[in-house]
């Protein structure tokens, strides 16, 4: 398994990829921080779905609040990226070629997913650090006190934010991988993924509140934000585990059973 992860890292950790990931993290932190700080309300919403409050920004977790609030759209980005990464492996024939070197199919797909998730974990970490740095720069301009940001409690909050964001990212990555394995074509998988996670879920929840608790995209969105008004972090984690577990089993079954003809 480690050699497959290593090989995946050979592929992903190239200068261009690293520069793109770093640039994306910095860009994310700039946009998220400016947006969150400028839109913070005196008495903000209970959850991060609708933004945040000035009180939350001055709390121990205020330094990474922009990261946590802004991360909601990162999941969808990861979803799309993993669809493209994995589906292109099938349509381009590289999965077939790799199977000639590693005939254990499950080991291959899990190794590839793990390698890509390691890169995603590093990018998420970089985004959090950049967001913290950006928040330190922006806070004085918005009269936000930062005294509570550099304590053990803030470290705990940052760790919690990282954990929930990465858990959500991993869930999106698994969903993306599942779609890619089902369709084995990036355009088709992206089309279905966009349609489901974009218009379908978001339009449906406007008229059906329960959708926040049951739709995979909404559940992962709540998980990334550390819980929402509609779905607490505990229930979000539990539901996400069930959904991603089902998706992972479906993926492994398809990979192990289907002929590789492309």
């Amino acid at each position: 398994m480690t050699r497959i992860i290593h090989a995946e890292l050979i592929r992903l950790l190239r200068r261009r990829t690293l520069v793109a990931a770093a640039a994306g993290s910095v860009l994310f932190s700039v946009i998220a921080t400016l947006t969150v700080f400028s839109s913070a309300q005196d008495s903000g919403p209970r959850s991060r779905r609708g933004g945040t409050s000035l009180a939350a920004l001055t709390d121990a977790g205020g330094g990474t609040e922009a990261f946590a609030v802004g991360a909601s759209f990162v999941g969808f980005l990861v979803f799309v990226t993993f669809i493209a990464l994995i589906a292109n492996e099938f349509s381009g024939g590289t999965f077939r070629a790799l199977l000639l070197r590693e005939p254990h199919r499950l080991r291959l797909i899990v190794g590839k997913l793990t390698g890509a998730l390691l890169v995603a974990a590093a990018a998420v970490g970089l985004a959090e650090v950049c967001s913290l740095a950006m928040s330190v720069l922006v806070a004085p301009t918005q009269d936000v006190a930062t005294a509570n940001w550099f304590s053990m409690a803030s470290l705990g909050a940052a760790t919690r934010d990282y954990a929930t964001v990465f858990a959500g990212v991993a869930g999106w990555a698994i969903f993306g991988t599942t779609l890619a394995v089902i369709f084995r074509s990036a355009p088709l998988a992206l089309g279905v993924g966009f349609a489901w996670a974009g218009p379908f879920e978001n339009i449906t929840v406007d008229s059906w509140d329960a959708g926040y608790r049951y739709f995979p995209g909404q559940v992962l969105g709540s998980l990334i934000q550390g819980g929402s008004a509609e779905l607490g972090i505990g229930r979000a984690t539990f539901t996400a585990l069930i959904y991603t577990g089902i998706a992972a089993i479906a993926t492994l079954l398809l990979v192990s059973r289907r002929d590789v003809t492309a």
Partner: protein, 314 residues
């Protein structure tokens, strides 16, 4: 399927009753193949004959509907037991476009637990020395095919399975690929190469496997199929004006003769082709006719192939 581990080491590949059914159609139908160690086998058949599917089943990519056998002494049910000793290029070469040729090989070697140090030598072997650092997306089709061969050679495999390595190449590329496969033939490996280029197969392969509609038509030494006695003698006069005189002369001798494209072809009819050539040469000389060609005519692989696949009706 039975586990055939421990089968004779003189057999690189032995499969019986191999079948792959999609719906109601048998793409490969009760196919047998038996490949001795060390041969370079040409796998020949028309498009859609089942060559690629057969190779994919041998490589564990496609699950057989039926059949049993072994590759390098291990059951085809357990490809993991032998794939580390098999190198393959199946369908088109598949690499990561953004990586260089050398990076691609390094990645594949890492996945296969192969030594990466021979990569420069492998690139040299396939004629990509100096181009290994170029991105794969910038490679020509011929370079991609050659990189595919280099990847197949990672780990110094005992058995090479190459699926139409010259596919899509220009004539120069085809010639280069023929030379490359010929060179591989000299390394003692067992090679199974599918090809449409019958002249390539005839020149390079010492073993033949002919397939059509998923069924085996012939398998055995190339010499057994092509090495039979000459069935004709080609005679060509130096001066076109002598062509008719030569025809009359040989007809008068009682030879069974036919004119083909400015040449005369005598049917050998069981006599020794050497004796016949000597007699024809003597008769022509006595008649003052100078010959520029006097050569035995044997059935080519193309003749056999067309005869077997189309019943000679092409």
């Amino acid at each position: 399927m039975t586990n055939t581990t421990g089968s004779s080491t003189t057999t690189a590949l032995s499969v019986t009753g191999l079948t792959k059914r999609y719906g109601t159609r048998n793409v490969v139908d009760d196919f047998d193949i038996d490949l001795p160690t060390g041969v370079v086998a040409g796998f020949v058949g028309p498009n859609g004959a089942g060559k690629t599917t057969t190779m994919a089943m041998l490589l564990g990519l496609v699950r057989p509907t039926a059949g049993e056998g072994s590759v390098l002494g291990s059951s085809i049910e357990d490809p993991a037991a032998y794939l580390d000793r098999v190198g393959a290029l199946i369908e088109t070469p598949a690499f990561y476009p953004a990586l260089s040729g050398a990076e691609n090989l390094r990645m594949f070697a890492t996945v296969g637990r192969h030594d990466t140090s021979p990569i420069p030598a492998l690139l040299d072997t396939v004629g990509l020395a100096g181009r290994g650092d170029d991105r794969y997306r910038n490679y020509s089709l011929g370079m991609k095919q050659r990189l595919g061969i280099a990847a197949a050679l990672l780990g110094d495999p005992e058995l090479l399975i190459l699926d139409e390595p010259a596919n899509g190449l220009d004539p120069e590329g085809v010639r280069e690929m023929r030379t490359l496969v010929g060179d591989l033939a000299g390394t003692g490996r067992t090679v199974l190469v599918s090809s449409h280029d019958l002249s390539e197969v005839e020149q390079v392969c010492d073993w033949l496997v002919l397939i059509d509609t998923g069924r085996s038509l012939y398998q055995g030494p190339t010499s057994d199929l092509l090495g039979g006695p000459a069935h004709g003698l080609v005679v060509v006069a130096q001066r076109p004006d002598d062509h008719l005189a030569l025809f009359d002369l040989l007809t008068a001798r009682g030879d069974d003769i036919a004119a083909q494209d400015g040449r005369l072809v005598l049917r050998v009819n069981g006599s020794d082709v050497g004796d016949l050539a000597a007699a024809v040469n003597r008769a022509a000389f006595d008649a003052g006719i100078v010959l520029t060609e006097l050569s035995p005519q044997r059935t080519t692989l193309e003749d056999h192939y067309l005869s077997m696949v189309h019943g000679g009706a092409r």
